[in-house]
Symmetry: C2
Subunit: 198 residues, 2 copies
DNA sequence: CCCTTTTCACCTAGGTGGTAAGAT
DNA sequence: ATCTTACCACCTAGGTGAAAAGGG
């Protein structure tokens, strides 16, 4: 079993990944976490899921003058460690491998009381997304094999800082340029973006 | 195994169940075919599907002055007999029985060249929707039991005439009043509709 | 002062019937 | 004359960042 992460632009982002109470009580991840999977048994069932680990025990703040993140103290109490199952789970290996798997329904929130099953994060903290593949073992005593039926993949380039508002104007512009839902804020052709924002 | 059809207003409809070429090459069924299912094995897998049979070998036309459908000759050549699988298929009996099953993704077209897998019908012809339940037999020689693993349910009240344009103003008004996507054509509160259109 | 929440206009994406033009 | 198609405004439903207001 092998997995490659498909989104090349992660390192550019300090993400507005968090937030809000009703009506907008959560946000999708953007860019979306996407993987290409190899080596599954085409006929077997698998569950695909993601979770998020704190990268460290720190809280951060953004230093505007130096355009960098600084440690601002100890982390806030950890949020509930929820898990997001890909909504197509369970599905056959053949189905998962057929095309890139996209976690575009995954939503993040900072609302500790969230009851929609969204991933809860602390703003101004750093997180490492993790991707898990669970083989659905048809044997009756499958609990015994839980360990070997479970594989975890970590792509360090997908680490990010959760925020409730963007701290860096270039990130804002990059999101506006690349997220179709933010098209209303574009002031030029997104094709030209890498050139005229260098 | 037992099934009840959940939509009470079928008999009122001569349906604009058909048509068009791109960009609008098909239409949903409205009202949606919905069923409540009883008596499945909660732990077994089932596929749910629908198809449409011609009610007779006739073509119809609408007589405006008498507000009724008249036979207008022999049926056109039959369209490809396609099938629509409920997109949640396969799923466990417990899942299907938990709530009303709604075929709201089913789409109809009159385009014989349709390559989206939509149901193809002849306009001005009458059809009988059918609902099928297929038990996914885990036995290796399951083909042998195909017959007994397959149940069909027919609700005669769901018969309709496919059209490309409504032939009756009261049908148009009823659709406008009851379909949320037609709200733009309402000229009064839909709650008042049964009263002020009697 | 720094961060969070609310509300908003503006998008994406797609399902309606009206209407006028097209086809037979 | 009758039916079909193309295009349209107008909805549903929901995802954006901006800006202003709120909170410690």
């Amino acid at each position: 079993l092998n997995v490659s992460q498909q989104n090349a632009c992660w390192h550019l982002y300090l993400c507005k990944y968090a937030l809000f109470s009703p009506p907008q009580k959560s946000m999708r991840m953007f860019p979306t976490f996407q993987v290409k999977i190899f080596g599954m048994d085409p006929m077997a069932d698998y569950m695909l899921l993601m979770d998020f680990l704190p990268v460290d025990d720190k809280r951060y703040r953004y230093a505007f003058h130096s355009s960098s993140w600084l440690v601002a103290g100890k982390a806030d109490p950890a949020t509930p460690g929820r898990v997001h199952y890909h909504p197509d789970s369970p599905a056959k290996g053949a189905q998962w491998m057929k095309q890139i798997v996209s976690f575009d329904k995954l939503k993040l929130t900072n609302n500790l009381l969230d009851d929609n099953g969204h991933i809860i994060l602390n703003s101004m903290h750093r997180y490492q997304p993790r991707f898990h593949v669970v083989y659905v073992d048809p044997r009756k005593d499958s609990e015994k094999y839980a360990e070997e039926n479970y594989k975890t993949f970590v792509f360090e380039e997908t680490r990010f800082t959760a925020v409730t508002a963007y701290q860096n104007h270039r990130i804002t512009q990059l999101k506006i340029a690349s997220n179709p839902f933010a098209k209303g804020f574009r002031d030029c052709d997104p094709e030209d973006w890498p050139r005229n924002h260098r």
